[in-house]
């Protein structure tokens, strides 16, 4: 744990990416396998199931801090983070003489994995009293760094400005493997432990976990006003498809089994039995990338219909009939067990069409738009809303299937309004009738490792959704500032707006015009949210437009 605390400190005290990779690699090289696995898991955004709620930690802090409650509250407001406030107020002070008692010494030698598996996780099943006694004892016996970390681990995750991709880079450096191989191995189900670490860094590409999808390739936004002719050049170099308004998913068919993964790396095979059944007709060693869509006899249904299926683990026959779902594939990543990702898109696309030529209805191919030039495509795009799609996808004919969000080969050319996927940061109660509900939200976009507030929006959600969200907000408050609550920054929403302009009044340097919540993106995690650079790219387009 001490080594991990030192790593955390090193990551936290530098803004340089290469320094972060170096610190992480050095740590992983020296750490025991199980500790390394947990470090990778946590730094890549994984969380422990919650040992204590932030509100419990706050209660315990008020009870055990040697200061009056109001002073603790003032301090918490100044510090801005409960875990850190506790570390600053409760932990063994740095000026305390070294050595400590025996138990403290034992703590020091306990590794990250042991801390989590032997101390933190078993605590989940204990009574509140036991948890309070144990946790407050830790607070007093740990130094500030470890105290802070333990608090962060108990309440969820670490946020130390390290992306999955950065962790993959460090693992690649340590293992000598290709970065893409590592990133691939980090996908899907991952149970931290010594075995998982060994599997992660094992030489060769013999992969034990056959269920694993490939890292998704993500498109970058092209402003609605932007002219693809200027930006993308010759129309003939590009394939155009509809940009579907569903759930991005990979279907993995191997060893006679099927796995359906969302972009949020959630395994949802059981939720879409019609797709899973259809996949049984595919040959082994097939991986499709596409969009899950609610689709009835008239074609694609509104996203709201699909939403009725998203949360359901068990689907009734009636719902299956009312809201049938299909996977509309647009890429073939693996065929006959061979990774096709480095083949040009045109080749993958032809193979996909051949493969799904006679597939059941629940598996289809996203059609290409024939429009011969950019103006014709723009006309087609104007038809998007009527077709219940969000706009167009433009993909370079010769492009490989890349990893993550790499600008240049895949563009989403959405119909205005502009949209961004943003993370909820703060919530406050509405006015009047809605004064008892949290309906006003502040959203942020990613900026490097931080989240920068970009817009405030009143809910555009249904009443049910608002009530559900209200409960969630109350249970996931991390800090309070008067009526405003800071929440765990994990919920992603799609925000629509009419325009974007530079603004010196906002921290992001941008102001959105008429922002509104389109929907909650339960399929996305905070790391999938759009970045400040994405938002600025819209601006550049708007400026030129």
């Amino acid at each position: 744990m001490r080594a991990f605390a030192a790593l955390y400190d090193a990551l936290d005290t530098t803004t340089s990416t290469s320094a972060k990779v170096a610190a992480l690699a050095a740590h992983l090289r020296d750490a025991p396998a199980a500790d390394a696995a947990w470090a990778v898991h946590l730094l890549a955004g994984g969380r422990l199931s919650r040992v204590a709620a932030p509100s419990e930690l706050r209660d315990w802090l008020y009870r055990h801090a040697p200061w009056p409650e109001w002073l603790v509250e003032e301090t918490a407001a100044a510090v801005g983070d409960t875990a850190e406030t506790i570390a600053l107020l409760m932990s063994a002070q740095p000026s305390a003489p070294d050595g400590g008692d025996d138990e403290d010494a034992a703590d020091a030698s306990l590794g990250l994995a042991a801390w989590i598996e032997q101390r933190l996780l078993p605590l989940r099943d204990c009574t509140r009293e036991t948890r309070e006694a144990t946790v407050t004892h830790w607070w007093r016996s740990l130094d500030a760094e470890r105290c802070f970390l333990v608090n962060k681990l108990m309440t969820g995750g670490l946020r130390v400005g390290v992306s999955r991709a950065l962790v993959a880079r460090a693992v690649a450096e340590v293992s000598g493997l290709d970065r893409a191989v590592v990133q691939h191995r980090m996908m899907g189900r991952w149970t931290p432990g010594a075995a998982a670490w060994h599997a992660l860094v094992a030489p060769g590409d013999a992969d034990a976990d056959r269920s694993r999808p490939y890292p998704f390739f993500l498109a970058s936004p092209l402003a609605a006003e932007e002219s693809p002719a200027d930006r993308l050049g010759d129309r003939r170099d590009w394939l155009a498809e509809w940009k579907w308004d569903g759930i991005r998913a990979q279907l993995v068919r191997r060893d006679g089994r099927t796995w359906l993964w969302t972009r949020g790396e959630e395994l949802v095979t059981d939720r879409y039995p019609e797709v899973a059944d259809a996949a049984a007709t595919l040959p082994d060693g097939t991986v499709l990338d596409g969009e899950l869509l609610a689709w009835d006899a008239d074609g694609v249904m509104a996203f709201a219909s699909l939403q009725r299926r998203i949360g359901r683990r068990r689907v009734s026959a009636r719902l299956l009939a009312e809201v049938p779902v299909r996977l509309l594939a647009y890429d073939l990543l693996e065929r006959h067990g061979t990774d096709l990702r480095n083949e040009p898109l045109a080749v993958r696309r032809r193979a996909l069409e051949t493969l799904l030529d006679a597939a059941p209805d629940a598996l289809g191919v996203s059609p290409l738009l024939a429009a011969p030039d950019w103006p014709a495509l723009a006309v087609a795009r104007d038809d998007a809303r009527a077709r219940r799609v969000e706009g167009l996808m433009l993909k370079r004919v010769g492009s490989p299937y890349r990893v993550g969000r790499v600008r240049g080969d895949w563009w989403k050319w959405k119909l205005a309004p502009l949209t961004l996927d943003v993370v909820m940061l703060y919530a406050q109660p509405g006015r009047g009738r809605r004064a008892n509900l949290y309906t006003d939200y502040t959203f942020g976009v990613r900026d490097g490792t931080a989240l920068v507030p970009i817009a405030k929006a009143y809910s555009g959600l249904s009443n049910d959704e608002i009530t559900r969200l209200d409960r969630w907000i109350r249970a996931h408050t991390t800090e309070r500032f008067g009526p405003v609550r800071a929440v765990d920054a994990v919920q992603v929403f799609e925000l629509a707006f009419e325009g974007i302009a530079r603004s010196s009044r906002h921290k992001s340097g941008l102001a959105l015009r008429f922002p509104r919540v389109v929907r909650r993106r339960e399929d996305l995690g905070p790391d999938d949210a759009d970045t400040l650079a994405d938002a600025r790219a819209l601006l550049a387009g708007a400026d030129e437009g």
């Binding site: 936290d12 005290t13 530098t14 803004t15 340089s16 801090a65 200061w67 009056p68 409650e69 109001w70 002073l71 603790v72 003032e74 301090t75 100044a78 510090v79 801005g80 983070d81 850190e84 406030t85 600053l88 107020l89 002070q93 740095p94 000026s95 931080a450």
Partner: protein, 340 residues
Amino acid sequence: MDARAALVRPTEHGLWCEAGGFHIDPCRPVDRALITHAHADHARPGSRHYLGAADGRALLRRRLGGDARVEGIGWGEHRRIGDVSVSFHPAGHVLGSAQVRIEHRGEVWVVSGDYKRDPDPTCRAFEPVRCDTFVTEATFALPAYVWPPARDVAADILGWWRANRDAGRPSVLFCYALGKAQRVLAELARLTDDAVYAHGAIVPLARLYRQAGVAMLPIESVDLRRRRAWDGELVIAPPGAAGTPWMRRFRGALTGFCSGWMRVRGNRRRRGYDRGFVLSDHADWPGLLATVRDTGAPRVLAMHGRDDALVRYLREQGLDAQSLATAFTGERPDATAPPG
């Protein structure tokens, strides 16, 4: 509080002692100014006559301009001014920083100015002075603010510099030009004798410290030196230099900031420095409480920063504490209301 009974009270010109006919650290030009120390928010030019601790006279003259009438007074030396007796006592904040003790018909007030209790090789240690009313600063008056030993911080700074040197990169450490920079140079001098480069604003102040007998690392002015590469060097610069064209010469530099604010992670992140070092010339929370105790003062007036928190806490401890800003206006601030 009865305004007539107050020996010192805030006015639009700053703290005013009517019985003595002088201001302390006035914010506008006055006839007679007593100055606690040479920081810009305490020593302002334009007054007719200045009195400060002799140790800090050279710094004051530099700050106030060559033609200012600046008189120095020895530590603890009594001086009759108007109807009161005045003496200066070390505050431990920067070179020559003083608390001002004022005695009037048996009643003693002490105005602390800025102070700290931690050891500092560049100035005389804070000396507690018994008094009836203690006017204290409260910049860091929250219990989260507890300073690590300065020697440990200096060792961290050295470790950071060495690591950056090994990586072939310059280290730029931002410190306030008066006080903090010299304290860092003095603390580092105990650990190394490598030379350091300094921004032009720091060099003349460091010279005055050296003339006062403070041992520090040798420094060279960045601006006088023509170098193409600064790799591996440590450069000390005032925070105002951050983000200016002056910084461009230090290609690939890593930046650090020395301040009490760096105790809080969020402050470190927001300021965008690579490293934050917790080093303050103000009293931390335990230092504030210990000092209030040491003065034995039954009445405390707090100013600057979190005076609200300090006042409310001291009141709950049974002291007659008020915020200086509101003590004379009759208005009852939230902070002194009973806890809810």
